[in-house]
């Protein structure tokens, strides 16, 4: 597959996903603004201490099939 057709395929997939997401929100009235890296992009690098004080990054966290990384608002409120 040429670079051009890969880019076109990528744009098509992104378009279909965006359409699906836009279609999804009104039925639930859940406002939703696309933010952060998209599907198909690499996860940005990170290195942070966990609750035990151990510094972790993608390589030390991932399992054989990858990683589920959850950003959440707060564990306090």
């Amino acid at each position: 597959m040429s670079l051009r057709s890969r880019v076109l395929t990528g744009l098509l997939i992104a378009g279909v996903l965006a359409f699906a997401l836009v279609q999804r929100s009104p039925e639930l009235s859940l406002p939703y603004t696309p933010r952060g890296p998209a599907v198909g992009q690499p996860l940005p690098a990170f290195e942070l201490a966990d609750q035990a004080g151990v510094v972790r990054n993608f390589e030390s966290l991932r399992g054989p099939s990858g990683l589920v990384l959850v950003f959440f608002q707060s564990a306090d409120w």
Binding site: L28, L30, R35, P37, A38, P42, L48, Q51, V68, F72
Partner: protein
């Protein structure tokens, strides 16, 4: 699995201990990583977002919701990217197929978005009509309204197979063999005080939620078409209270409400 928030390590340590969380909770008190991901809110918290990557770190799935109340469960997200459901299965039979209904979560919280997996196994030589097969009754799933449920969004159907019906020389979308339909269930938020009432009133601190619905379909073989059928569906979930406990005052951020 790991989770990132702008909380201090001490808050995460106590939260993990109280909730029995053993996966890593990563502390980003300066919000530097949250900002690098483009997810920083005005006061430094992250916009709630979940990424599913492959082993090389490429993002394969992503879930975002602006609402801090209505959120998809991790098990529902994994089911959406092809994992098997973690809940308790119930089996239904029809003359034409076996059906197993399995929730992503047996226990759900107020505001959570969870998913039911409907796993079909068609009888040999039989096919069911997929959405778009206009001359037949296509497969459809419709759950009944429930006071604890905000919405049953439209189900997610798999890609059907084109089937050539020779006697009429027509091609229609069908399902044969094994296939899975996903039905999301968005739980309502609950009023202030409900969680405490539930904690006080029930031994297991859970409220049973009995969901019912209808499954309509039409099945044919290469030679015979059977009449359209509507069968009833029943799924049992349990609703848990909200966790409204905050971190100890001395650990809290000064600017947090």
């Amino acid at each position: 699995m790991a989770a990132i928030s702008y909380d201090a390590p001490a808050i995460l340590r106590e939260f993990a201990a109280r909730r029995g969380i053993t996966f890593p909770l990563l502390a980003d008190p300066s919000s530097a990583v949250i900002a690098r991901f483009g997810l920083r809110q005005e006061h430094g918290q992250a916009y709630a977002t979940t990424f599913v990557t492959d082993a090389a770190g490429l993002i394969r799935g992503k879930e975002q919701e602006d609402s801090i109340v209505y959120r998809r469960t991790g098990a529902s997200l994994l089911l959406g990217v092809g994992a098997d459901p973690a809940g308790s299965a119930s089996s239904l039979t029809s003359p034409y197929f076996a059906l197993r209904v399995t929730p992503s979560n047996d226990v759900v919280g107020p505001g959570q978005r969870t998913t039911l997996a409907l796993d079909f196994e068609m009888g040999p030589g039989l096919h069911a009509y997929a959405p778009g097969a206009h001359a037949y009754r296509p497969l459809s799933v419709a759950f009944d309204a429930h006071p604890r449920v905000q919405a049953f969004p439209p189900p997610r159907f798999p890609e059907p197979t084109p089937y050539l019906f020779r006697p009429l020389n027509e091609t229609v979308p069908v399902y044969a063999g094994r296939f899975r339909v996903l039905q999301d269930v968005v739980m309502n938020d609950v009023p202030v005080g409900w969680s405490q009432e539930l904690l006080d009133a029930t031994a297991d601190r859970l409220e049973p939620v009995a969901l019912t619905g209808s499954l309509a379909y039409q099945v044919c073989s290469d030679t015979t078409c059977y009449p359209p059928v509507t069968m009833r569906l029943a799924v049992s979930l349990k609703l848990r209270p909200k966790d409204e406990i905050r971190a100890r005052p001395e650990l809290r951020r000064p600017e947090a409400p």
